[in-house]
């Protein structure tokens, strides 16, 4: 996408019928680190890669609890994501207060989408620069939605957003047909394996990812490091043993591995510091 004379504000159409500012906002989502969601009939798993601004800082929170039965994972401008999460929490709690009943997630995403649409049709606003994977429960079971800066929303069996999400999407495309009937444990395992795809060779450790689950009889909560590591161990056992065995030789190899990790980090330096 190149600069052109129709991309200055969101209320200008291009001759080909595009709103470039909205499309640029969707680009911002692609710059954030990966977030993944999958669902079965009864559960939804949201997972993301923990990315820190620098070695000194802690990683940004990308998954938020909206209510016991709804969670959201974001990619893009975290500030926008935080504000929208607050809006979602507010809507959810207002509904609970009036009706003593959980807000159906399908209705929440429509409210979110309408809010995003407003920003595409006002000259004094800009579109939200964040993509939201909303997972939640309804009367009809578990649902996963993706809310776009454009104001569109789609329902998915599984989806990935953010940088290097294509690798995760490829993995999910191969496996998604089995997700509807998956057990909770298999769903979590698939989520972590999809995360691994986005890391492109970097060793998967529980400190690198955050995983959350919600289900029909399970309130939204995060999995602790130990549980995540246990799942990782079930499919990453062999490579770890080799590294332990060949530790002496592995050291010079470990350094270049760390080097590529750092290079990967510096490659992301075109990414604005406000995007995670």
């Amino acid at each position: 996408m190149f600069r052109n004379q129709y991309d200055t504000d969101v209320t200008t159409w291009s001759p080909t019928g595009r709103l470039f500012q909205v499309e640029y906002a969707m680009e911002a989502v692609k710059q954030g680190s990966a977030a993944i969601g999958l669902r079965s009939r009864s559960h939804v798993v949201l997972a993301c890669v923990n990315k820190a601004q620098s070695e000194l800082s802690s990683h940004q929170r990308k998954i938020f609890k909206v209510d016991d039965h709804i969670g959201v994972a974001i990619a893009g401008l975290t500030a926008d994501g935080r504000v929208l999460s607050r809006y979602m929490r507010s809507e959810s709690i207002n509904h609970s207060f009036t009706y003593e009943s959980p807000l159906p997630v399908g209705r929440l995403v429509v409210h979110l989408a309408d809010k995003a649409q407003v920003c595409t049709q006002r000259s004094w606003k800009r579109p939200y620069g964040v993509g939201l994977l909303v997972g939640g429960l309804d009367e009809s079971g578990a649902h996963l939605y993706y809310n776009c800066p454009s104001g569109n929303y789609f329902e998915y069996q599984a989806f990935a957003i953010g940088s290097r999400s294509q690798a995760a999407k490829t993995y999910l495309e191969r496996r998604f047909e089995s997700f509807q009937e998956s057990s909770r444990e298999d769903l979590i395992k698939d989520a972590i394996m999809a995360i691994r795809e986005t890391l492109q060779g970097e060793t998967l450790k529980s400190s690198l990812c955050t995983v959350s689950v919600l289900g029909v009889d399970e309130a939204f909560h995060f999995l602790d490091q130990e549980s995540i590591q246990k799942v990782i161990d079930t499919f990453e056992k062999v490579p770890e043993e080799e590294e332990d065995a060949g530790e002496g030789e592995a050291e010079p190899e470990a350094a270049p591995a760390a080097g590529t990790g750092e290079q990967g980090g510096s490659g992301d330096q075109d990414v604005a510091p406000m995007e995670i």
Binding site: T98, Y99, S101, P104, G106, R107, D138, E139, S140
Partner: protein, 245 residues
Amino acid sequence: MTFTVPIDNGDSVKIAEEESQRTLYPYVTGTSIVAIKYKDGVLMASDMGGSYGSTLRYKNIERVKAIGKHSLLGASGEISDFQEILRYLDELTLNDNMWDDGNSLGPKEIHNYLTRVMYNRRNKFDPLWNTLVLGGVKNGKSYLGMVSMIGVSFEDDHVATGFGNHLARPILRDEWHADLSFEDGVKLLEKCMRVLLYRDRSAINKLQIAKITEEGVTVSQPYSLKTFWEFSSFHNPTAGAEGSW
């Protein structure tokens, strides 16, 4: 009810609206509602009378209405406020239907919505002068609850409003049990309504019984209860106290 107080200061009469409009007393009122949970859902009974003070003025008022697919609402108290509540619920259920997304408001949600409405009006010193009974069935679960005009709200296996609380509930406490059949439920309600007919002076002998189950709502045609007035002491009521009535 607008309170306008003319203030005469000599030059001109200024009319000031001292208080905003608010309800002080009811005008056309309905008497008790009695409702019970039974095997397949909820049964609700009410008479069809609307009293204007001590006059039994209106004899064809339906005080039990279906709300959405899953609920029944019965009201005692001011009839016009009941009609207002029905308008609120109409809007609510319309919006719910327009979503068309497989989700629908069940009796619990409507009960809580009504509780919020009643309590908020009470806080403004402008109550909806009703005691409401909300019954329904959703996903196999029966629900029966009540909200008063001051926003007191609770759920129970059997509820009654007004005089029903004093005359019907003791009967229900003794004779209600879980999993009543439809026939037994109706018999029990008729027993309560008969006592109310004898003893509540604002009751009339024309009642409806409404039933709600998973399948939906049925409201019976109006009918009357058989009463017995041939007690010997009724023949000469002043026998023991000449001059009284």
